[in-house]
């Protein structure tokens, strides 16, 4: 079982994420139509295509460089809330990963922690606001808790926590982002950014399980 993430591994995860987003683009957009402006799938699909193209063109040689390239491409091509939030998350991840050639369990958990903080700062959001942040913070907490069990366990725990968090927030009322304009009418709807974030953590877990 892989106990370290090298640049090629992180790249493979992002490739998987790009495919997942492409596959679920219409779902994400439909969810955003119900509570927002109906562009989350299109936005993220455009961004992740550009990110993978960049990874193909100049393959980075550290995990940090991969996060940095993906973050930059998302910032440049997505726009909207998710462009800023995912972009910020991955740029913070890059900073936390530094020049290390590989990430172990502790390294990954630290990266995730910083990325999650980045989302909170950028989005001025907190847990319970019913945004993608709820998924990231749940994943990060689970990763921290599983630290002693190695990287694969960390990634699995993060993914399980992300899935649970995404389901848990459905009945809540949104307090940040476009969905918050709906007030009580946001209750009962899935949050598009939470769903796409869940896809990301699932891709990390899938890599570990492969």
């Amino acid at each position: 079982m892989a106990e370290r993430l090298a640049a090629t591994d992180v790249t493979a995860v992002f490739r998987g994420f790009q495919q997942a987003v492409q596959r679920d683009r219409d779902l994400l957009t439909d969810l955003d139509t119900a509570v927002g402006d109906g562009d989350h799938g299109t936005n993220l699909d455009r961004g992740m295509r550009a990110a993978v193209e960049a990874l193909d063109a100049t393959p980075p040689d550290t995990p940090g460089a991969v996060f940095n390239l993906v973050g930059r491409r998302l910032v440049s091509t997505v726009g909207g809330a998710s462009g800023a939030l995912y972009g910020t998350a991955f740029l913070r991840a890059a900073k936390a990963a530094g020049a290390a050639p590989e990430l172990d369990a502790a390294g990954f958990a630290a990266v995730l922690r910083d990325a999650t903080t980045g989302i909170a700062e950028r989005g001025k959001c907190a847990a319970g606001d019913k945004t993608m942040y709820d998924v990231w913070t749940a994943a990060s907490a689970a990763a921290d808790a599983a630290l002693g069990d190695g990287l694969a366990a960390v990634l699995a725990a993060a993914s399980i926590a992300a899935d649970a968090a995404e389901q848990q927030l459905v009945p809540w009322q949104a307090r940040r982002g476009r969905a918050s304009y709906l007030g009580e009418r946001s209750e009962g709807h899935r949050d598009p950014g939470a769903v796409s974030s869940r896809l990301l953590f699932d891709c990390f877990a899938a890599w570990a399980a492969a």
Binding site: G38, G80, S82, R175, Y181
Partner: protein, 334 residues
């Protein structure tokens, strides 16, 4: 539904090319990242004013680039805020060293992308000040939401900031004036029919033939409520009541600026009929409509509806409103 497009994917880029081709003396279109700047920017010793937002609201913002208003505009994809890259590049292109005011409508995406750009610019010694516009009384303002949406007041903020910058005001002064306009403005819109989303060719929401969306957002977001259709005077009265009730006590007196914007498919006849009632209704409330702007200046694709904005004037704001402006969509005194 048939529209005058070649393909949904090229709507924004082709329209921008059209703007640049028909206004070469005024506008410069930059690619990768996309922004539109005054041809004569940066203007020495002057504060720059940059705005932007999702496309689909034309002529806002590109139609407001030019002397006396915006230094540059950053058009995002349809209804999607521009990227931080676009904002950063636009500011770098027009900042003359005197700083740049960023006019930002209060949507999470816009706020965050402009904020990221401001951080990147600050790291590089480029000073910016942000004026946040959040004038839509249809949305409740509370700490439990992302606050109110920015709508019609954006146009007024851009005009006033542009005029202040043109006369040589400092970065702090231009920003303060912009914030004053934002603070003294309230808006509300209603729609009889949603706009047609190019990608799907369908309306962004469907309304029965006897209902309207009252308090609609300019991205087709739902508003306060669905209401029965009424003659337009009744709808204007309702909107005016909501707008006037929302001002802090004592603020709404004296002279006001009335801004009526069609949201895409409202005809000039309809805009004039709305303006007629709005002027009378303000008059009835003892306010004098000292300035007005009526037309389709901030739209939502081809939505059928209007948005009304009331700005409480003071001498300074009236003077800046009257100052010369020369843009594709708004022009006087020049």
């Amino acid at each position: 539904m048939k529209r005058l497009y070649n393909s949904p994917d090229t709507v924004v880029s082709e329209a921008l090319e059209g703007m640049a081709l028909t206004h070469p003396e005024l506008l410069r279109l930059a690619h990768d990242p996309t922004y539109v700047a005054r041809v004569d920017a940066p203007v020495a010793d002057r504060v720059a004013v940059v705005s932007g937002g999702g496309s689909g609201h034309e002529p806002m913002h590109v139609g407001f680039v030019g002397p006396g208003m915006l230094s540059a505009a950053c058009p995002g994809e349809l209804f999607t805020s521009p990227t931080a890259d676009q904002v950063e590049a636009a500011v770098r292109a027009v900042d003359a060293g005197a700083g740049t005011v960023l006019v930002v409508k209060n949507y999470s995406g816009d706020v965050m992308n402009f904020e990221m750009a401001a951080e990147l610019l600050a790291a590089d010694g480029v000073e910016t000040e942000t004026v946040l516009v959040a004038d839509d009384v249809a949305v409740e303002d509370s700490t439990y939401t992302s606050g109110r949406r920015g709508v019609g007041a954006t146009v007024l903020v851009e005009k006033v900031c542009g005029a202040a910058a043109a006369r040589g005001d400092s970065l702090a002064q231009v920003a303060e004036l912009g914030r004053r306009v934002a603070a003294r403005s309230r808006s509300l819109g209603f729609a009889l029919r949603a706009g047609t989303v190019p990608a799907t060719g369908r309306r962004s929401f469907e309304l029965p033939d006897d209902e309207i969306e009252f308090g609609v957002g300019i991205h087709g977001e739902p508003g306060r409520e669905r209401r029965p259709m009424e003659p337009v005077d009744a709808l204007v009265d309702r909107a005016m009541a909501a707008i006037c009730a929302d001002f802090d006590p004592g603020v709404l007196t004296g002279e006001v600026l009335l801004f009526v914007t069609g949201l895409g498919s409202a005809t000039p006849l309809e805009c004039s009929i709305v303006a007629r009632r709005a002027v009378r209704e303000l008059d009835r409330r003892g306010l004098r409509v000292a300035r007005n702007l009526v037309g389709s200046y901030m739209t939502s694709l081809d939505m059928l509806g209007v948005s009304l904005t009331v700005l409480v004037l003071d001498e300074q704001l009236a003077e800046l409103w009257d100052a010369p402006v020369h843009t594709a969509a708004l022009r006087w005194g020049a």
